[in-house]
Amino acid sequence: MPGRLKNMVMQHFEGQDKGKLVLFALSTCGWCKKTRELIEDLDANYDYVYVDLLHGKEREEVVEMVKKWNPQVSFPTLVINDEKCIIGFKEEEIKEAIG
């Protein structure tokens, strides 16, 4: 992600380093909330963004990033180490990937 955009839109949770985790989420979504809670229970460092709270160009750019991993642009989309992506609240898969 371009550094400028990252600084503007991404929120950070400080935990332990368990790889690079980027979570694309919606502020209104129940499964997104559960995903955040799980990652925080696992005490992992991660960046997240609530795409529904972005507007205009910012939102477009972030949606394009999600589309690369998940053409349906559904949430939550969790990108791990820029190489793998978990779509939806898949508890076991997330635990396996970062636990």
């Binding site: 919606l26 502020s27 209104t28 499964w31 559960k34 053409p71 349906q72 642009v73 949430f75 939806g88």
Partner: protein, 169 residues
């Protein structure tokens, strides 16, 4: 975090009561976890304030009602997902099986077509030519059919607005 004031606890509680009664009176079930369910309903109220319509809280709304008609709660995909997975995409509506605890509630795949696919579907919509005395309208939420000049203002079965109907025959 939000651009608007959050709905009050009273607003959420009375909305919960209303949606629950409506669901149960027409054979649907809300998720039995009140905390999770009220959180989703609160989000629908937030979306109503934000966009002017109760967009699905687990999908990204565009702000254009016409583009989002299929995902105004209850969405066009709820009934299909209840049959296939026992839950709607959000986990707001669940099947009897899940309600009774015979099956575990899980996050399910997204059925809504991608933005590109939706564009294609829109373009590909063709006129249906028939010799019926009246056109037949279908409610895309609950499947109710009626033969009349225009669809009803409100679906008599599931209470969604007339713009959720499609010409069926």
């Amino acid at each position: 975090m939000n651009d608007f004031d959050e709905p009050s606890e009273d607003e959420v509680n009375s909305y919960y009561k209303k949606v629950k009664e409506e669901a149960e009176s027409s054979g649907y079930h809300l998720n039995s976890n009140p905390e999770f369910t009220k959180e989703l309903l609160k989000s629908i109220l937030i979306n109503e304030k934000r966009y002017g319509y109760g967009a699905c809280p687990c999908r990204l709304a565009s702000g254009d009602r016409g583009d989002d008609l299929d995902m105004i709660c209850p969405c066009d995909y709820r009934d299909l997902d209840l049959v296939d997975y026992g839950t709607c995409f959000c986990g707001l509506y669940v099947s009897g099986e899940i309600l009774r605890g015979e099956k575990r509630l899980k996050s399910i795949p997204e059925r809504r077509p991608s933005p590109e696919e939706r564009e294609k579907i829109k373009r590909g919509r063709s006129k249906i030519l028939t010799e019926l005395s009246e056109p037949v309208w279908r409610c895309k939420v609950c499947g109710y059919l009626c033969a009349r000049e225009k669809p009803p203002e409100i679906c008599p079965i599931c209470k969604v607005s007339s713009d959720r109907f499609e010409r069926f025959m």
